[in-house]
């Protein structure tokens, strides 16, 4: 972070905005909940300085984006004054530095204007001036976008903490307000979306793993359904190793999440603990392992070429974000208490197990794709496989030196295709076994008993299952 010395600041306008950009990114490295109120206090200064700079720059198109942001920010500040929230206190050093840099840049641009002839906006401007202004505008809106995101992520954590306190029927600290913090989060989120649209951000929520707040109940179900449909749709198109790898990796994550959420449900007595412990969990572990093997065998053949069908990438981003907001806290798993606080565990378990029910079919379709003569891998990846001994020497199957030099897509070497086909057969076998073990149909106790902690009467719990309607036989169980 640059500590501006306003009286002796020799930075150019471009350097000042660049410093603001870097400082705003630094702010995002940390989004501690303690920062939220300080950032909300400083947010208005950032927008004010950004709007001043924006209006000082040549703009023949009169883009209204910054005006909209300024209006929203002014409204939020009025609310803050009226409600006395977040109240007096320190601002955020990063955001204050950003505001100072942008304010200084606005002064410099305005001074140039004052020093020259009055600007005639209807007169044609030199092309380099317009290009510079366009670049500066992009840089400036990017800063606003990043700052809005940093305020938002801090507020997410703050709101989550306040919700946790209220859920425990404890009183909030003096000066804290769940309602006002949540409202501020929503209003800054609107600014983030407007600025994000200007800089052309794609899949902003999914990419940033945005989460917290109450998890939207239907998000997971919707994301999983979309993923299932899109995976099949993509596999029906041109067969590429990158698409297949992405599908395999996401299937593994869904399986892992089913294990995490299912374990919480079982431990809390919402599903049959014995069934989960002795049958479902080992089946899910095996399924993760075999999907992992497919990925490990496929990955060296892609090297770094990960371009996937954009629709598949969008669905993957969304399902990843929907899972992570339930299962993770930072780099580790969320605690069972956190998972329960975030989501209807029983509903999420059911959604995940429904998603797993299509594993067998998906593995068959992936197998068909791998068997397709048009299925290609990168030439360097194939060469690496040969070098590593995965393919017998001399068995290069159409891979020429030119292919390797230009790293062209080439048909997968036959021995590698055989390995992948065997992997996928294994996935199918394990998925069938998992289905037979009930991994796609959790035994839900809540329909029979109130949710209580496991009592140790596991045999009795199982015996009660006979009163339920008989479930349809799983794959591999038909007689």
């Amino acid at each position: 972070m640059t500590i501006p010395d306003v009286d002796n600041d020799q930075r150019s306008v471009g350097e000042l905005i660049l410093d603001a950009d870097i400082t705003s990114r630094d702010a995002l490295w940390d989004s501690g909940k303690d920062l939220a109120k300080a950032r909300v206090r400083s947010w208005g200064e950032v927008v004010e300085a950004a709007a001043d700079l924006w209006s000082a720059m040549p703009d023949r198109l009169g883009d209204p984006t910054m005006s909209r942001i300024r209006t929203l920010s002014d409204g939020l500040q009025r609310t803050q004054r009226r409600t006395q929230w977040p109240g007096a206190g320190d601002g955020d050093p990063h955001l204050e530095s950003v505001a100072t840099s942008l304010g200084r840049a606005a002064e410099l641009v305005s001074a140039v204007d004052r020093g020259g002839a009055s600007r005639n906006l209807s007169a044609p401007m030199p092309i380099d001036v317009l290009h510079d202004a366009e670049a500066a505008r992009t840089r400036l809106m990017h800063v606003v976008y990043v700052c809005a995101h940093s305020v938002g992520t801090s507020l997410d954590r703050h709101v989550e903490e306040l919700r946790g306190t209220l859920d425990q029927r404890k009183s909030l600290d003096r000066g804290d307000s769940f309602t006002r913090a949540q409202a501020a989060r929503q209003r800054i989120g609107a600014v983030e979306r407007i600025a994000g649209a200007y800089v052309g951000s794609r899949w902003p929520q999914a990419l940033t793993g945005e989460h917290r707040g109450p998890v939207e109940a239907a998000r997971l179900e919707r994301a999983l359904a979309r993923w299932d449909v899109q995976a099949h749709r993509t596999l029906a198109g041109p067969p590429t190793a990158a698409n297949v790898l992405r599908i395999v990796q996401v299937q593994r994550e869904i399986t892992s999440a089913a294990d995490v959420v299912g374990s919480v449900a079982a431990r809390r007595g919402l599903t049959d603990l014995e069934q989960h412990h002795f049958r479902t969990r080992p089946a899910l572990a095996s399924l993760q392992q075999v999907w992992g093997r497919v990925a490990a065998d496929l990955q060296p053949m892609l090297v770094r070429q990960r371009r996937v069908d954009p629709a598949l990438l969008g669905a993957a981003n969304e399902v990843h974000a929907a899972l992570r907001e339930i299962t993770h806290e930072g780099a580790g798993y969320a605690t069972p208490d956190d998972v329960i606080a975030r989501v209807d565990v029983l509903g999420a378990t059911a959604s995940l197990h429904r998603a797993l029910a299509s594993t067998v079919d998906l593995a068959h379709v992936v197998g068909d794709v791998v068997a397709d003569p048009a299925f290609t891998v990168s030439a360097r990846g194939a060469q690496a496989l040969v070098t590593a001994g995965g393919v017998p020497v001399g068995n290069h199957h159409g891979m020429s030196l030119a292919d390797v030099h230009h790293n062209r897509d080439i048909p997968i070497p036959q021995p590698a295709r055989v390995v992948l086909a065997a992997d996928l057969d294994q996935v199918i076998r394990v998925a069938v076994a998992a289905d037979s073990a009930g991994a796609t149909r959790p035994e839900i106790r809540a329909q029979l008993d109130p949710p209580t902690a496991p009592s140790g009467r596991l045999h009795q719990d199982r015996a009660l299952a006979s009163t339920r309607p008989a479930a349809a036989p799983g794959f591999g169980c038909e007689r």
Binding site: D30, S201, H328
Partner: protein, 117 residues
Amino acid sequence: MIGQFTTQPAIESWREAIALLVEAATRGFTEAEANPALYSTALWADLLASSAIDLLPANQDHLLDGVVLDRSYEDLDMVGLIRAAETTTRRHPIEQFPVGASGVIVGLLDLVRESRP
């Protein structure tokens, strides 16, 4: 910001960031064998790599495999490589990257924060 990279150094830095993310994901998948919770973070890095690749000119994917990473990265773990990828994107002002780069960069910053042990 327009739909393409405006300088050659910018596109090279972008490719380097992609290579670092792919390497981070690869190491993360390996680290996840001992600590399964890391799988999600590794996948996140890989998804971001795909999102970043999506901004590259379509006919230049093959150049990614030619990116040679500095030897100083060899000892880094997944988190270190993710941080290195984020730092790489700071070499150029945002307008030298194509439309959509802001979203990838913010996603990368979130990944840096969320991947901390």
